[in-house]
């Protein structure tokens, strides 16, 4: 409906208008030391996720360098088996649980999804903040253990019986399984927040088939997390029970079964791969569209393949267990399923290629990283096809061939898109551009080093070098290739240093970005960079898939939300029709306190079962403090208001 006083569109929000000032004071996050722990705004929490997980990427990289240094000579005396086993376990666990998922799923998701939806904040911001603190708790437990000689030494998969009470004395394996509990609860919390945000807080008019690809993939991943993570929590939980109170789940002598653990673990473990890869694909889809200067080709097929990947991901876990000697029929089935995964992934690749082919490619820095992704992930995916074939897998399983394969898949599918995304969204996050020349140096150093290291490992695997060996005999002729692989690490390290320099430099003297430096179509570019605490001056409405490209200049904006309380708009899951207004709970210290009590209970249960009954009451108290209705709410409502049933 036309109104008397036309309002100023979002992209013109200078922060000077009266409305902007009111919103800013309403949505302000507390400052200072305690304020930091009360903060519940998604951009701040998202940045914390990104920074923290990047720190653990660096730490995991240091461990990797130690591993390469140890293997550079046969019978090297740099590390003994005790330390080496801790180091490679810490490397795997940190990279998967403390970096890959928190960065690709939580970090990018929490920061970008609400902006792309056109929302003022993420749904359940307190749960979101709680998830962050719990993630940090898990990280501290794992690394604290490592620094006190209690680092897990049973591999990131912690197979029983090696990780069981009979063969892992002490508390090393317990540290691992509780770290799992921490990080998985955190991921599940964020999954709930993201899925709800995507389904309920989209801008009016952003129907399902107008959702940006990134939202589609985040939605699928959130649901995959919800179905996959419980499996590993059960696995590590039963392991903890076996070790702590002497249950017999994995004790063959008393009717237990060691393979049960592997089934539970890989039922999570394989979907996990897609939980890590799909965010990368989401970033690539976004960037390919932006830098080909055209709508992405094959929106519907890509959406279908993403959903299909999410589904098929749950039916291939046994291809991690081919060597256990399963019946042939099931082997054939799981081979077929594993090969089937290629179809949706291939579809995405072809659609990206077609988009570039019929577009106008601008090879800016983020796009360069996308090409790096095409190259590396393709190699990883194709060697994955080899592993799907049972006979070949029986030869190269648990060798450095597999190590090479999944580093190509994970670094290719997560790290390259991550850097693409960082270069792409850094202007939005920091308000300044990253330096192009340094970025190019970073790319080429890392690209060359990566391929030097990991392509070499294929040959080592074919020459019969098994994984997880702390050294090897001089007569095995493995040194030359190991040296080659270790040299690659030097290049990658240099690349990382260049990146860090670039970030620190650009934070201070980088070129001012402006709202939309890349001319992208997503709503996250519609407000100033960095975004104001209320994100949008007026919540936008949408009438196309690429709002900033295709929406008419007179696209309506939402008015009528109160600016004296944190009112948000809830829309319909499918057609994004406005349904009702909701209220953002705002900053609070309780999520942090709850995280503290929960962490205390978790850590205590490493040492004694009594931690559960003793640790529960404080958790309950903090939870009540969290959920107890506060003074200002419920807000006074217009009399005779209709509640939507």
């Amino acid at each position: 409906m036309p109104v008397a006083e036309p309002v100023i569109a979002n992209d013109q929000d200078t922060g000077q208008s009266e409305l902007a000032r009111r919103l800013a004071s309403t949505w302000r996050q507390p400052r200072g030391f305690w304020g930091w722990f009360c903060n519940t705004h998604h951009t701040d929490i998202g940045i914390r996720f990104i920074v923290t997980s990047f720190i653990f990427l660096l730490l995991g990289g240091v461990l990797a360098a130690m591993i390469r240094l140890q293997l550079v000579r046969p019978e090297n005396s740099l590390m003994g088996p005790d330390l080496y086993n801790q180091v490679f376990t810490m490397h795997g666990s940190s990279m998967i649980f403390l970096f890959a998922v928190p960065m690709m799923f939580q970090g990018f998701g929490v920061y970008i999804v609400p902006l792309m939806c056109g929302a003022r904040n993420i749904a359940f911001p307190r749960l979101n903040a709680f998830s962050y603190y719990l993630y940090v708790g898990g990280a501290l437990v794992l690394w604290g253990g490592f620094l006190t000689n209690t680092g897990p030494d049973v591999g990131w998969f912690a197979y029983v019986p090696l990780s069981g009470p009979a063969y892992s004395p002490g508390h090393r394996a317990d540290i691992w399984s509780q770290m799992i509990t921490f990080t998985e609860v955190s991921a599940l919390g964020v999954a709930i927040c993201l899925a709800t945000t995507i389904l309920r807080h989209r801008a009016p008019g952003m129907t399902l088939n107008r959702m940006p690809m990134l939202l589609w993939e985040k939605l699928v991943i959130s649901i995959a997390v919800i179905f996959a993570m419980p499996a590993v929590m059960i696995a590590s939980g039963l392991l903890l029970l076996d070790r702590l109170i002497g249950t017999h789940f994995f004790n063959p002598a008393e009717g237990g079964d060691a393979l049960l653990y592997q089934h539970l673990f890989w039922f999570f473990g394989h979907p996990e791969v897609y939980i890590i890869f799909l965010p990368g694909a989401a970033i690539v889809s976004t960037l390919v569209e932006c830098f080909s200067r055209r709508r992405i080709f094959g929106y519907t097929p890509i959406v279908i393949s993403v959903v299909a990947t999410g589904f098929i991901g749950f039916s291939v876990w046994v291809h991690h267990m081919f060597a256990t000697g399963l019946p042939q029929l099931s082997e054939s089935f799981f081979t077929a399923a594993s090969l089937m995964i290629v179809i949706p992934t291939g579809t995405q690749f072809f659609c990206w290629m077609a988009t570039i082919w019929h577009g106008r490619l601008q090879l800016r820095l983020p796009m360069l990283w996308c090409f790096g992704f095409f190259f590396t992930f393709l190699i990883g995916g194709l060697s994955g096809v080899m592993l799907a074939s049972v006979p070949v897998d029986l030869q190269v399983h648990d060798t450095y061939f597999v190590v090479a394969h999944f580093h190509y898949v994970l670094i290719g599918g997560a790290l390259f898109p991550m850097f693409a995304g960082l270069y792409f969204w850094f202007p939005k996050i920091a308000g300044r551009m990253l330096n192009d020349r340094l970025g190019a140096w970073h790319f080429w150093l890392f690209f060359i080093g990566f391929n030097l290291t990991f392509f070499t490992l294929h040959f080592l695997g074919l020459r019969g070098m098994p994984r997880r060996v702390y050294t090897y005999g001089p007569d095995m002729h493995w040194q030359g290739l190991n040296v080659l692989a270790s040299i690659g690490v030097v290049f990658m390290t240099a690349g990382f240093l260049v990146f860090l320099v670039n970030v620190l430099r650009s934070l201070r003297m980088g070129k001012i970005a402006g709202n939309n430096p890349w001319g992208d179509a997503g709503l996250e570019w519609a407000m100033s960079s960095p975004p104001p605490p209320y994100n949008f001056l007026h919540l936008p409405t949408v009438s196309s898939r690429d709002p900033l490209w295709e929406d008419p200049p007179d696209q309506p904006v939402v008015v009528g939300l109160r600016d004296d309380i944190r009112e948000t708009l809830v829309t319909h899951s499918l057609d994004a029709e406005p349904q009702h207004k909701d209220e953002d709970p705002g900053p609070s210290i309780w999520p942090f306190l709850t995280a503290l009590t929960v962490s205390a209970a978790f850590v205590g249960s490493i040492f004694t079962p009594w931690a559960v009954p003793v640790g529960a009451p404080p958790v309950i108290v903090t939870l009540i403090g969290w959920l107890w209705p506060r003074g200002q709410s419920p807000t006074p409502r217009p009399s005779g208001e209709q509640w939507s049933r």
Binding site: A166, G170, G246, N251, E254
Partner: protein
């Protein structure tokens, strides 16, 4: 430069200080102390057995869960089970109760293993290396719940015939120990 060195040094020391003895994997054994056997008396012959100073390096094994677990394996492999069962006793005296004919300290158990005792306990001197004897002694103490829970072994992967050592209540050794032979 020097500053960095000192900082690194401090860091290392700090880490070492906090690192747990419990998790120590003792892979390289200290050279065996030949005079140890002579420093240990048989508690059966003088009351107040628990006051006997035990040789320092016994603690190293009693504080490491890994060493106790090794002791448990050796207890099986060297067939201590044959006479003492899984602590319940049989041909030999029980090890999970409060009675210690020759003393309950690690040093006493060590010397019992090494010297042998009347009525059937053979001497394993030269047969069992000293560090293994210390590990077995540590494990035997855990049978009676005399070791901290964090160090005592939990359930094994064998048949479940007795509660795990880590869940055995502490059997405080009776002060006056019995007379040799009485228990056979």
């Amino acid at each position: 430069m020097a500053k960095h060195f000192y900082f690194a040094l401090l860091l290392v020391i700090a880490v070492l200080l906090v690192s747990c003895k419990r998790e120590e994997r003792i892979l390289r054994q200290p050279p065996p102390a030949n005079d140890i056997l002579n420093t240990i008396q048989i508690s059966g012959l003088n009351p107040g057995a628990n006051s006997i100073p035990t040789p320092p390096n016994s603690n190293m094994y009693q504080e490491s869960a890994y060493a106790v677990a090794e002791g448990q394996k050796l207890y099986e492999e060297y067939n201590c089970v044959g006479c003492h069962a899984h602590g319940g006793g049989g041909i030999g005296p029980a090890l999970m109760d409060r009675d210690w004919i020759y003393g309950s300290e690690a040093g006493n158990i060590f010397s019992t293993i090494m010297q042998g005792r009347p009525n059937g306990m053979p001497s394993f001197r030269n047969r069992i290396p000293e560090y293994q004897a210390w590990e077995i002694a540590a494990y035997v103490r855990s049978l009676a719940g005399l070791l901290p829970k964090g160090v005592s072994p939990n359930r094994t992967d064998q048949m479940n015939i007795k509660p795990a050592e880590s869940s055995t209540p502490e059997q405080t050794p009776s002060g006056i120990t019995g007379i040799p032979g009485q228990h056979q």
